[in-house]
Homo-oligomer: 233 residues x 2
DNA sequence: CGCATGCTTGAGCACGTTCAATTGCGGTGG
DNA sequence: CCACCGCAATTGAACGTGCTCAAGCATGCG
């Protein structure tokens, strides 16, 4: 596999200028790691040793409840950062990261990363702002899980996925996701997700094309969510 | 009311050294604001103009679902920070902050705060780390809301409150909270909370003393939560 | 061809919400 | 001092959503 160039990560949440600066510093420190589909990059409880920048492929970041239940917190793809929760005070990762496609990431040892933080002002601030946005998203989602019924949660999940991954040339959400994973991302169980999807198909709001899902009426989905929530924003 | 001295905020999440430095800079910029019980400091949708450091009193930070439902995301007391979600990219606060006791806060205009960020390295990094921890907490709580039944959520809420506010001289959780607020913090409705509390009292795990709640067997509460969750951490 | 695995559907059940009615209590005014 | 009002606390009952369990069905691979 050819050596990916970190500069391609410009699409990352970091502004290209400060990233370029940063990349030039770490040039010799970075190490690429590849993992196969369904293998984990790290697991809950693993000691934090570093962070990861995704170069290619898609990952799910998830948190276990018991042996058969989990919740998928977010997905990551090219340009995204993974393992950043390790920056908190916990010495162990509070989440797991698992590849849902073959993945290549750039590994940055934590000690080096922290040293960089102390050197590069803008970087720490950008990261802070990134975390603020993530926290905002998380709290919005938490509220939705508490108050929104399953069908709405599934609709919301699909819209979120389309926003993040875009659509392929058939107009489908550009990610191949097992039903189980979609259920975990929607905060429900396999069967409930299944029925919710069926209802959305029956209502002509979405369409199944092979293993992919195409959103037919996004506004109708949003409408459906909003109808259960007067003050959606 | 006497002018509170910001240096007393040492107990804040920021290390005292960098806070002291910071405080000396803002000396002349700070402005104290007081709000009465049940008044809001800011509401969802208000334009972000600054941040707040709590000098005295207690606040709830909450997010509305519809006109009668909300979720309480966290509480804040002396030394805590409020309005920090305004640091994200949204131009408006995504949450509201309401006093549950008479409150005095120190107001910092956002422009000034951001300028400070650019000057003081350690500060931005500390803030970043704070956000990372908050995000971690938020995601743990999100998972709990999805998978934990109401009784467990209430037990969890009580333990969280005791951890944050400690106990008074009667051994009760040192916060006076309406049942409605406790319900919103537990992610359920008034009546369900009521019954859950009753069950906990009946099982001799907690005790009601006036308007306060005393945890009798914290380990038993944790046990109860864990029994529904093999892998609690 | 047979077994295994995942997908699909049905039925029952439990939890939690909703709605409604009652009780208790503090404050207010006659 | 009592009567009344209002509000929060409390309880009961019914309903609905979503989870669980289990059986049927398709698919694939040895």
């Amino acid at each position: 596999m050819s050596q990916p160039n970190l500069c391609d990560l410009k699409s990352c949440f970091l502004c290209s200028s400060c990233l370029t600066e940063w990349v030039s510093v770490i040039g010799q420190e970075r190490k690429n790691i590849t993992v196969k589909k369904s293998q984990t990059l790290f697991k809950e409880g693993d000691p934090v040793t570093g962070m990861f920048f995704v170069y290619s492929g898609k990952l799910k970041v998830h948190k276990r409840w018991d042996h058969e239940k989990e919740i998928i917190l977010r997905f990551a793809q090219r340009g995204d950062i993974v393992g950043h929760l390790g920056l908190g005070d916990e010495p162990a990762y509070p989440v797991s990261a698992t590849a849902i496609e073959p993945v290549t990431v750039c590994y940055i040892p934590m000690a080096f990363f922290e040293a960089t933080l102390n050197i590069n002002h803008g970087f720490a601030t950008k990261l802070m702002r990134f975390f603020a946005n993530e926290l905002h998203e998380s709290e919005k989602r938490m509220r939705n899980f508490v108050h929104m019924p399953v069908k709405g949660r599934v609709a919301q999940a699909l819209i979120t996925l389309q926003k993040q991954f875009g659509v392929n040339n058939e107009g489908c959400i550009n990610i191949e996701l097992s039903r189980q994973d979609l259920a975990s991302f929607s905060g429900t169980v396999y069967e409930s997700l299944f029925r919710a999807v069926n209802e959305l198909v029956a209502a002509d709001l979405i369409k199944l094309i092979g293993k992919h899902i195409r959103i037919l009426k996004e506004d109708a989905l949003l409408e459906m969510i909003a109808s259960e929530n007067i003050l959606i924003k």
